[in-house]
């Protein structure tokens, strides 16, 4: 079920009303669990089995870790959980990519080996819930979180519908305890949640999907376009993916808030970053902190030799690239981000506190390199990515552009930019939080009307569902 579908707009209020009517915490959690599985099964019912399997594996592994007295036994349960979950992920997401590459490689050496390929549909949000469940296993092993003995509560933690398919990837330390608290009806929570959801919908429907109307035809038909079009598409794509993903996260955070749950912030104005390191403190925060805590730090983090530290950064970001998809374009994208951060560490930029002019220069520089890296993320193939990059620098001609698209994107970007400035500098002029009742409510009315009029309302999928 998509957040931007009529189905969800009916489903969500019904779930909220029933949730608050139900008498006890236990019944409420069971109801939310049922609703979450219903939400997930709207895509492909059979894949709920995978969700259930991953949940059961990590639940049993955590119990095993808890019952084992010896470290070796605990480790065995952890490794079992990691291997089984990552095997599911590998089979559904990476196996065909690996098989194809091995066949190609062997063919280059003159050996014709056709590896079997599986025609499996990638289950929606598999990387998100598997990482969330694995985070729990590791936290239990480290003793950072208590073992959840109630299977249904744990299953709800893994499948909680607002953040199930595209995050934020929650930590057991934050979300699990919230399922043990009574969430009473709160007017403030509902209004805050609705405002967050509306801004999420705005980012998705007015910004991201409008940018997509321009970006997708260019990136999908590279031979037919010139450098001008590539440049414009490469400038719009960062906002498309931001609007798409931050929009989903905000809608998720808002939906959870309406029911009284607090999810983690996932985006903090990433394009205001002045270094790539800073960018990763602001972009997909729940994933970058996951990699920091479960990949980068266990490898030694930055408390090792300089060279080893660079190696750790590179590995972390290459793995992050692979997490995004089974394609060399994602691996290169991750590697580019890793390399840029190594360069920043080398130059000491990651710790620098610039003044205004320095900030502006580094903001511009960071934005440009992030945009360039996005080309690899979005391009269908590596050769397309290189053609686009080459085209931008060598064939800068008049771009293909429809005035209407340009106006719509410019309008959306202006509004987003103003809102981001207000948030970044914490200016106390937010209409949505005005002390005047009618102004706050007119903001909601205005946003709904604006989305109906200018949003792209054809129910497009969120990009991050594929990861």
């Amino acid at each position: 079920m998509l957040f931007n579908s009529l189905h969800f707009l009916l489903f969500f209020p019904v779930v909220c009303v029933i949730y608050f009517i139900l008498p006890s915490l236990r019944v409420r959690n069971l109801f939310l669990l049922g609703a979450s599985y219903y939400f997930y099964m709207n895509w492909e019912p059979v894949y709920a089995l995978l969700l259930f399997t991953s949940t059961t594996i990590t639940y049993l592994a955590a119990l095993g870790i808890g019952y084992c007295k010896e470290r070796r036994g605990k480790r065995l349960y952890l490794v079992g959980s990691l291997v089984l979950n990552l095997s599911i992920l590998f089979l559904f997401k990476y196996y065909n990519f690996m098989a194809e590459n091995i066949s190609d490689l062997l063919a280059r050496w003159g050996m014709s080996v056709q590896m079997p390929e599986f025609n499996l549909l990638l289950p929606v949000g598999i990387s998100f819930y598997i990482f969330q469940a694995l985070g729990y296993s590791i936290d239990v092993y480290r003793g950072n979180t208590l073992i959840e003995k109630n299977f249904f509560t744990y299953a709800l933690f893994v499948s909680f519908f607002p953040q199930l398919v595209a995050g934020p990837i929650e930590r057991s330390t934050n979300l699990l305890p919230q399922f043990k608290q009574e969430h009473s009806f709160s007017y403030e929570n509902i209004m805050t949640g609705i405002r967050l959801m509306l801004w999420g919908y705005f980012l998705k429907l007015v910004l991201a999907d409008r940018c997509a109307l321009y970006v997708d035809p260019i990136f999908n038909n590279v031979p037919y376009h010139n450098g001008g079009s590539f440049l414009l598409a490469s400038l719009f794509f960062p906002f498309q993916i931001y609007g798409d993903f931050a929009g989903y996260s905000l809608t998720a955070i808002g939906a959870a808030k309406v029911m009284g749950f607090n999810l983690k912030e996932n985006f903090r104005r990433p394009y205001f970053a002045t270094t790539v390191t800073d960018f990763w403190r602001r972009w997909h925060i729940s994933l970058s902190t996951w990699f920091r805590d479960y990949v980068y730090i266990p490898m030694g983090g930055n408390r090792v030799s300089t060279l080893r530290c660079y190696f750790n950064v590179m590995i972390t970001f290459i793995v992050s690239g692979i997490w995004h998809g089974a394609n060399w374009t994602f691996i290169i994208w991750g590697a580019v981000h890793g390399m840029l951060q190594c360069v920043e560490k080398l130059l000491g930029w990651n710790k620098e506190q610039w003044k205004v002019r320095g900030k502006i220069i580094h903001w511009g520089l960071t934005f440009c390199v992030v945009c360039l890296a996005w080309i690899f993320f979005r391009a269908n193939t590596i050769s397309d990515a290189f053609l686009i990059t080459k085209g931008i620098f060598t064939n800068l001609a008049m771009p293909y552009m429809r005035v209407a698209d340009f106006l719509a994107i410019a309008l959306a970007l202006t509004i987003v930019f103003m809102k981001e400035i207000i948030d970044e500098y914490d200016l106390k002029i937010r209409i949505s939080e005005s002390p005047i009742w009618i102004v706050r409510h007119m903001y909601i009315v205005g946003m709904i009307a604006f989305i109906i009029l200018f949003g792209v309302l054809n129910g497009d999928q969120f990009i991050y569902f594929q990861f």
Partner: protein
């Protein structure tokens, strides 16, 4: 709870008011914009008085030069092709709007496979005439068939969703300046387009679309309007059976069918194409003169009874 109910009530009432007032403003914008489809539809619905009116989608809009046709046939011609209106429901609606005030002598309808074949969303390209809901019984009936009539009925702003930005942009930029009796010339492309693969299989028939094609024919017959079907050149090879269904309907009703796509016209001239589906101005002028010759020949032979 009381606070929430108060807030919800206010939001619903204010949203209703904003929707209705916004709907009126957007109708005004729709009627005054100088964008592509809005003014053309308005002209077709209120002012067109040409003897020959060409209808269809962008392939009609960009492929037929009225002055060339007019010079050849000796009748006034208007190109009523509307960009991104590739379904028979749209053409049927447009024809009804024309007939409210004018009866042309000949209607030439440019057809595509999407006019009869099953597609993922058959009514996808009908949203451009959503502003006419409540103002035209034919528009209402099409959207009832599409199943989204009540969304449009409930939310007036939603009627302008597809075209809001371009309509507002049309208040600033006049796109009708380039228009010659409805024809919009496409510029020379930057690259020669690639030829699309040959399409072998005929498509599954959408019975509702076929029913609307018959309604279109009946409407012309009842107003004694001569009708001609065309399929203009495309930079792709086509099997005859791609249009076989439409040709059968044409034959049943003694309607001439000019199929230049299957004939492979310009297939060896990629330089005439803007992309695989559209001719640019040079190709359009050449093609119109060929079509004008064929249409004139048909008119002459049939008026003399040969």
């Amino acid at each position: 709870m009381k606070n929430l109910l108060k807030s919800l009530l206010f939001v619903f009432v204010a949203l209703f008011a904003v929707d209705r007032i916004g709907g009126q403003i957007m109708w005004w914008v729709n009627q005054h914009t100088q964008d592509m489809s809005g003014p053309k539809l308005k002209y077709l619905a209120n002012e067109v008085d040409a003897d020959i009116v060409l209808l269809g989608t962008s392939r009609c809009n960009f492929h037929y030069v009225p002055s060339i046709l007019s010079d050849s046939i000796g009748m006034s011609v208007y190109n009523g092709g509307i960009d991104a209106s590739n379904c028979i429901y749209a053409h049927y609606f447009v024809l009804n709007q024309i007939l409210l005030h004018h009866t042309p002598k000949i209607i030439c309808l440019e057809l595509m496979t999407s006019d009869y074949a099953v597609s993922a969303n058959s009514f996808e390209t009908t949203s451009f005439f959503a502003p006419y809901i409540g103002r035209s019984e034919k528009a209402d009936s099409v959207f009832r068939e599409a199943g989204n009539y009540w969304y449009y009925r409930l939310c007036h702003l939603y009627r302008y969703n597809a075209k809001a930005v371009s309509n507002m942009g049309g208040l600033l930029v006049n796109k009708q300046l380039e228009s010659e009796s409805g024809y919009i010339p496409l510029p020379r492309p930057m690259f020669v387009p690639e030829r699309l693969d040959k399409v072998h299989k005929s498509k599954n028939i959408d019975e509702l679309k076929l029913q609307y094609i018959r309604k279109f024919i009946m409407l012309c017959k009842s107003h004694h309007i001569a009708l001609a079907f065309m399929v203009s050149p495309a930079y792709s090879e086509a099997d005859t059976d791609l249009y076989g269904t439409l040709k059968d309907v044409a034959k049943e009703n003694e309607i001439p069918f000019f199929d230049y796509h299957t004939q492979g016209l310009f297939l060896n001239h990629p330089e005439y194409f803007k992309d695989s589906g559209h001719l640019w101005d040079k190709g359009a002028r050449l093609y119109t003169s060929i079509f004008a010759h064929d249409l004139k020949h048909y008119i002459v032979t049939h008026s003399t009874g040969n």
